[in-house]
Structures are given as structure tokens and as C-alpha cells.
């Protein structure tokens, strides 16, 4: 009976899928469901109590701060995305098409990852003494005579936040783009040249369209990382700027879990919408 049961093609499939399903249920679906449930609960100064009320959402959507902070978060995501894309694409292009020897390619690629051997936080915080009022950047610029007064906006500003983001996350753009570029059949480039396309035309009409899935994967990485971050914003802006992550972490610190959960649900919704839009442009599964 059991043998027959397992011989059933459909049953076998289900059995094989079960472990992953259970893992996903326990560690992905259940926590999210929990967050959604708690977001409708109420909170006092020191406790949370089960309820079904819309207070948390009502406060969230009626506060101008929410819109400003979501706006800020999207701004960081957009600017960081644009910069990491340009830098990431350029680096990947150079690695994929200008470096001929494969050994060299691997060596240079590993070189890109060296900074990632240290902790995220360290890489971020090391910018602080560099950009500070009496930091290396300002001292160098002054000694070169470029500026007379230290530049205040170098640190604790949107500039420093985005700088840190770009520094931290560019590799997440380089890797998938490099990966897709390496799969491009070189004979396509020869064909383009044979047909009289110049470098720019090849880039626009051959390379970019074929690299789209890589770009899209990198984009998803960068956008979700930036939108979910809170610590970079806190350190690099000297606590003077806020994004959604900081809003949530403040709430948690003040024991306002339901309110934090509601914000998290809205953030999750926002990120999912952004990704849904992105996926409209490229069907990643088809192009992989």
C-alpha cells in the first residue's frame, strides 16, 4: 500500500516539496502573519493587548511624518539605485568585456569583494572620521586650497547617508550584472560589429537588453536593502534624518510593538509594489 502510495507520481512530488514548504511556512509565512496580526493590536506604555482595531494604521496614515519619511526612504532608494547601477554596470562591463584573461577576471572580481571581508558597520563608521569637520577629506581639500572653510555637508547629511549606501551596496549590483554579461554569447557582439554597429549601438541594442535580468536582480537587492535599512541612516546622518526603518526601530525601543508592526506591514506592502512594478519590465525567470 505504502509502496503504491509512493509510486503515485503526484504524491511523490508533494512529498518532495514538503520540507521546503514547511521551512517556508515556519520561517517566512508565520512571522509575517504574526506581524500582520499584531499590527491590529493595542498598546499601553508597557504592554500590548490583543484587539482588532485600526488605530495604528489610522495614526500612521493621518500623520504627515509618515509621508515625509516614506518619501525620504524612496528618495534614498532611488538615488542609491541610480548610482549603484551606473557604477555597478561600468565595473561589470569592464570586467566582462575589457579583461581578456579569465584568471585576471577572477582576480579582479575577488578584489571587488575584499572590502566585504570586514563588517558592514565598520565600513560605514570608518567614513565618519574621514568626512568629519577636521577629517581627512576636509584637511586635504583645505591644504590643496580648494576650499577655505571645512565643508559641513560632508558628514551628517543626506550626502553622507547616500555615500555610505552606495559604498555598501554597489557590489550587489556588480555581481548579478557581471554574471549575466559573462553569459552573453560573444558571437552576438561580433555579429553586431559585422553588421556595422558602432560601440554605442552594440551597448544599447545588444548588451543592455541582454543584461536586463542581472540589472533587475541587482536592483531588487539594492532597493530592498536600502528601504529596509535603519542603522546606516542613523549613523551617517547623526540621527538627524529618518527613514521607515528608523521609525520602526524607535517604536520598538518604546515598546510600541503594534505601531511598529503596522509600519512594517505598510513598508512590506510598499516594497512588494516596487518589486511588482520592476518585474513588469523584465521577466526574470524567462530570461534566466
Amino acid at each position: 500500500m505504502a509502496a503504491h502510495f509512493l509510486k503515485n507520481r503526484h504524491m511523490l512530488g508533494w512529498v518532495q516539496a514538503t520540507p521546503l514548504t514547511l521551512v517556508l511556512l515556519a520561517f517566512l509565512i508565520a512571522p509575517i502573519v504574526m506581524i500582520v496580526i499584531v499590527s491590529f493590536w493595542g498598546a499601553t506604555e508597557f504592554s500590548i493587548y490583543p484587539a482588532f482595531q485600526f488605530d495604528n494604521y489610522e495614526f500612521l496614515f493621518s500623520s504627515p511624518v509618515t509621508y515625509r519619511v516614506f518619501g525620504n526612504t524612496l528618495k534614498y532608494a532611488l538615488i542609491t539605485w541610480a548610482l549603484t547601477l551606473v557604477i555597478g554596470f561600468t565595473v561589470a562591463y569592464y570586467l566582462a568585456f575589457h579583461i581578456r584573461s579569465q584568471t585576471m577576471q577572477i582576480a579582479l572580481f575577488l578584489l571587488c569583494t575584499i572590502p566585504f571581508w570586514t563588517s558592514n558597520i565598520i565600513r560605514m563608521i570608518s567614513w565618519i572620521p574621514f568626512l568629519g569637520r577636521n577629517g581627512i577629506a576636509n584637511q586635504t581639500l583645505i591644504s590643496w586650497g580648494v576650499i577655505d572653510e571645512p565643508l559641513e555637508w560632508l558628514l551628517y547629511s543626506d550626502f553622507s547617508v547616500i555615500l555610505a549606501f552606495v559604498h555598501l551596496y554597489t557590489l550587489f549590483m556588480v555581481v548579478p550584472i557581471f554574471n549575466t554579461m559573462m553569459r552573453i554569447d560573444r558571437s552576438l557582439l561580433e555579429a553586431a560589429r559585422d553588421n556595422g554597429a558602432n560601440g554605442l549601438q552594440t551597448l544599447m541594442h545588444v548588451i543592455i537588453p541582454l543584461t536586463k535580468p542581472g540589472i533587475m536582480i541587482g536592483t531588487i537587492f539594492v532597493v530592498t536593502l536600502v528601504m529596509g535599512d535603519f542603522i546606516t541612516v542613523r549613523f551617517m546622518s547623526g540621527s538627524q534624518r529618518a527613514n521607515v526603518g528608523r521609525l520602526i526601530s524607535n517604536d520598538i525601543g518604546l515598546l510600541q510593538y503594534p505601531s511598529a508592526a503596522a509600519t512594517a506591514v505598510v513598508l512590506l506592502g510598499t516594497v512588494l509594489i516596487v518589486i511588482a512594478i520592476l518585474l513588469r519590465f523584465v521577466n526574470i525567470r524567462k530570461e534566466l
Binding site: 506604555e45 508597557f46 504592554s47 495614526f59 500623520s63 511624518v65 515625509r68 519619511v69 525620504n72 558597520i121 565618519i128 572620521p129 568629519g132 569637520r133 577636521n134 559641513e152 558628514l155 551628517y156 542613523r234 546622518s237 547623526g238 540621527s239 538627524q240 534624518r241 529618518a242 528608523r246 521609525l247 524607535n250 525601543g253 518604546l254 515598546l255 510600541q256
Partner: protein, 454 residues
Amino acid sequence: MGRNDDDTNKPNKPNKPNKPNKRLPTREDQDMAKPKVGYSRRSLLKAGGAAIAASAFPAPMLWAQDTKNIVLRQFGTGVSNLNDVANKVKEDLGFTLEMTALDSDSVTQRAATQPDSFDIADIEYWICKKVWPTGNLQAMDVSKIKNYDKIVGIFKSGKLTEDSVIAQGTAPHTVGFVPEQGAKTFADEQTNWMTLIPTIYNADTLGIRPDLIGRPIDTWAELLNPEFKGKASILDISSIGIMDMAMVCEAMGEIQYGDKGNMTREEIDKTFAIFTEAKQAGQFRAFWKTFDESVNLMASGEVVIQSMWSPAITAVKSRGIDCVYQPLKEGYRSWGGGIGLSNSLSGMELDAAYEYINWYLSGWVGGYLMRQGYYSAVPETSKEFMSENEWGYWFEGKEATDVITSPTGDKLAEAGAVRDGGSFEERMGSVACWNAVMDENQYMVRKWNEFIAS
């Protein structure tokens, strides 16, 4: 000062992580200890009690074994969670004290939500006001506290001396007593039941860089002086930051508060309006949340005037940078911490906890903390554990006759130096307000979030 140190950089690391499930002694141990019911366990714990125990109690060795097995789990903010204290407890009292240091938000969270994860809570008085109604802490029997009479008046009647005026905010004595064991509201006067045994406290003010400012500073209003545009900072911990803001607004003459420690919505709005305007005009270089951040901001010269904590000033000074904890004419913003007992403590561990409290107040810890610049709840016992020079410098505000060093041996002041702000009476006598939780706390917190996001 509030005693918040982010876990990334507390000055005093806990010696061991907390082990919520490991509760010693076991059931068996407690059963073995049962025969001594009827004796004061406190006296048994003491060396002097051992003789009585030996005659009346058949197996004193067993008792010693029990004491050794007791583990008390204490958690609190970094300031008084010191490894040296745990080591000394082991040495003097025989039982083990496990310390966990957290930032004050996490401390509140833990005391309110995980009562079984600790035996002793080392918290601030304003946290007590928030946490007490949960019923997670038990009141302490004052008659078991030996040095109760010697505890400074601030924690009992609220008055340092007969004629002092009680400052605004959550003054420790207002949340220091409950009418009876199990009560969830506070008593108006001293009773036999204490919520927290005061351990350390201090008066906070603004820290400045005199070398970069170059002129005397004597009022809180200077924090928003446009002269320091882009060079000021305030701490990003709402419950403490709001008090500093109130001190500033009042000093500027912009707002007259009914009670800074319990503002109305209107007062909160006005306060934030003033600070939001200043923030948008670029007054602040940054806000800080952890001890190290405040030290770095000051030491690097990014900031020349900011709200600061006493040990942070010491840390800046120890780098050879001129930094002053500036006394201001409006007075200090003060804070106090104490230890409370978990509601789940009972039997032998409860006795051990009382023993620990009595030991805490008996002077060694007080001396240790006073040599860091804090004050002990029972100064006269601490005096015995300090040199005359140290006592004169830290407590009496006298000129140091010799080099002043910290308990860990770092040099803090040269001979001839005088403590910023002077003597104990001068400093604690001019407290303008205490760290507080207001009735409108949730509203204030939302406004604080807006302020940060603005």
C-alpha cells in the same frame, strides 16, 4: 544622565550572558535548606550568624554549600553593572551575581515583559514609574534594610536638607514607596515598603569645549545660541532629551512650564516647535544615542556644546582634550537609579537578595561609584572606602591634594583640580528637574519621532 549605552559600546561589559533557564539552586537545594525555617536567614548568611547556626543547625556546611550555589541574575543599564561588583559579591557574600547590561529602552522592555528572566533589576526611577504597575517587581521590607536611616533624604522625604525645594519631574521619593506589599500605586510618604533601593545618582548638565568656545557659558539657553550653529548636539533618547529641551526653552524665557516633568500637550508642542525650528536652521550637528557617540562628537570637535553624561566628560578629558561639565545657573537635570527585586524571588534567593542590598549600601560599591563621579545613596558608609583626598575632591568639592584616579587606575585629575560644580550639596542641591515619564508620554514620543524626521 540617563544611563543608556547601546549594546555596541557600553563601558562595562557584562561578565556573562544571562541564562534565563538556569536557576540555581534547584528544588532539591531548597528542600535541603528547609530545616532552618524559623531562623533569620539574613543572620545565618553572615559570618557572625554562623556561630549561632552551628549550635542550632546540625549541618552548617550544607548551608555554606547552598549559599555558594545561589545565582542572582541582575540586569540593568551599563553604569552600575560592573564586573568588579560581581567579583566582590562572590568574595564577600559567597553567591554568584550574573550581570547583563542593556540600554535603558531594553531595560524597560525586559522589566515589563520578561519578569522571569531576572532576579534583580537595576533600573532608573522613571523606569520604575513605568514598570511598577505591571506587578513584576516586589516591594522591599524597609525593616530589613540596615542602613536605611543613613540613606540620603532625596530618596526618602525628597529633601536633601530640611529647607530644600523638591525638583520637578519623577523625583525618586515619589515612586520610592508603596502603601503595602502588592500595591500597584505609589505611596505619598515613607512606608515600610520600598520599590527600589537607591544605588547611584548624579546631576547632569551640558558639556562644553572651553577651548573652542572661548567664553564663559552659564545658561542652558546657550545650546540654541546661533553662535554655535552646526556645533550643538542633544541626545536622541526621548524621555531624557525632552527634559534637556525643557531646560533650554525655560532658560530662553520662551516657555514657562507648570511642571517640566509632566508637560501638557500644549507645552510639548511649543517645546518641539522651538527645537524643530532650530534643527531646520542647522543648529545641530548630530544627535547622539550612545555614550561613545557623545564622546566622539565632543573629542573630534564636531560639537562644542551638547547634553552629556559625567563619565563621557571623563572619557574626553582622558584623551587630553579640554572638556568641562558646565554648571549652569538654572540648575541640573538629575537622575537616580536603584535596584528592585523580581516578584518571582522567594525563599533563600530572596534572603540572598536582601543580603546583597545590605552589602550594596555598606560602602564598598558606594566608594567605587563615587570615585567615578557618581554619588552613593549612603555617602557616609562610602567614605570609609575612599581616601581623604578622594572624598574631598568628589564629595566635598575641595581641591585635590594629589592625583585623582578612577577605580580602574586612569588618571582623572591633577592635584589642585576642583570638581566641576563643586560639592555634593552644591550639585545635588541645585537640581531643577528629574528624568521623568509624563502622563502624555505617548504623545511626546510621537512628537519626538516627528522632530527627528523633520
